[in-house]
């Protein structure tokens, strides 16, 4: 399953991996962590009245209290995700953080799962 592959790749960095929005209001930010969100999973290429593939759209974000990590870790994550079969274009974009201590950058990822 696409989400499992995504999480497994991100976990190789040994930072927490959380679903976007899952931190509690009073839960402190870890120093470094990933979040992800699956915005869509469409079925494509129907054949013989059956779905043939799923196309998953994810956003992956990395937050850190070290501004350099925000860029370097996300870049490294992009390379690992591409190697695992995710389709990613571009080098990412800034994302908003709830905490002034942390910066964040994110990237959109597409995964095509053949059924």
């Amino acid at each position: 399953m696409a989400e499992d592959i995504l999480i497994n790749v991100l976990e190789t960095f040994n930072f927490p991996v959380r679903r976007q929005g899952s931190l509690l209001p009073d839960e402190p930010y870890p120093d470094n962590f990933f979040t992800f969100w699956n915005s869509d999973s469409n079925s494509e290429r129907h054949y013989d009245n059956k779905e043939n593939i799923y196309v998953y759209n994810f956003s992956v974000n990395f937050y850190s209290n070290n501004p350099e990590n925000v860029y370097s870790i996300l870049r490294a994550a992009i390379e690992k995700l591409k190697a695992a079969g995710f389709i990613i274009s571009g080098g990412g974009y800034d994302v908003a953080s709830d905490e002034a201590t942390h910066d964040g950058r994110g990237v959109g990822c597409v995964y095509i799962e053949k059924l």
């Binding site: 959380r18 976007q20 929005g21 899952s22 931190l23 509690l24 209001p25 839960e27 930010y29 962590f33 979040t35 969100w37 915005s39 869509d40 759209n57 956003s59 974000n61 937050y63 974009y93 800034d94 994302v95 908003a96 953080s97 709830d98 994110g106």
Partner: protein
């Protein structure tokens, strides 16, 4: 900061433009009119999503002031040569939490109604139909004089 772009490509667009050009029509004027009318629903859906305080973080406390004001209310087509662009959704040059509501934060899930519009792109299918029908009407009106 990420800018959410909603691609408003329409099937058969090039064919319609060619047909209008062959008929001697003012293509840019017609395309502008069609796109400006057909994006009304996207604007209305965005406003409705931002006003739906039951589905907004903190009951909409941080979403219904500047964020509502930052929504582009009457999108206008702008042309650079032969390329037209129309801005829908949130005006990122203004204050507001529009982008935050779409992407979420580690403590705030994305707002699903806005995700439907800008991530899942649900209005695009209806937009395609509306624009196609508008092109057909415009061509018919020109041919019937």
């Amino acid at each position: 900061m990420k800018r959410i772009k909603l691609s408003l490509e329409v099937h058969g667009f090039d064919d319609y433009v060619t047909r209008l050009d062959e008929l001697g029509a003012n293509v840019k004027e017609i395309v502008s009119d069609i796109y400006e009318q057909c994006t009304d629903d996207i604007t209305a859906d965005t406003i409705a999503a931002v006003k739906n305080i039951k589905k907004l973080p903190a009951g909409g406390k941080y979403s219904t002031g500047d964020t509502l004001k930052s929504i582009i209310k009457a999108p206008k087509m702008e042309w650079s040569g032969e390329i037209g662009e129309i801005g829908v959704g949130f005006d990122h040059s203004k204050n507001g939490a529009g982008l935050l509501l779409i992407t979420g934060t580690p403590r705030m899930k994305p707002v699903l109604d806005l995700e439907d519009i800008y991530a899942r792109k649900k209005p695009i299918k209806k937009f395609n139909i509306d624009v196609t029908e508008a092109f057909e009407r415009a061509i018919k009106e020109i041919m019937e004089g």
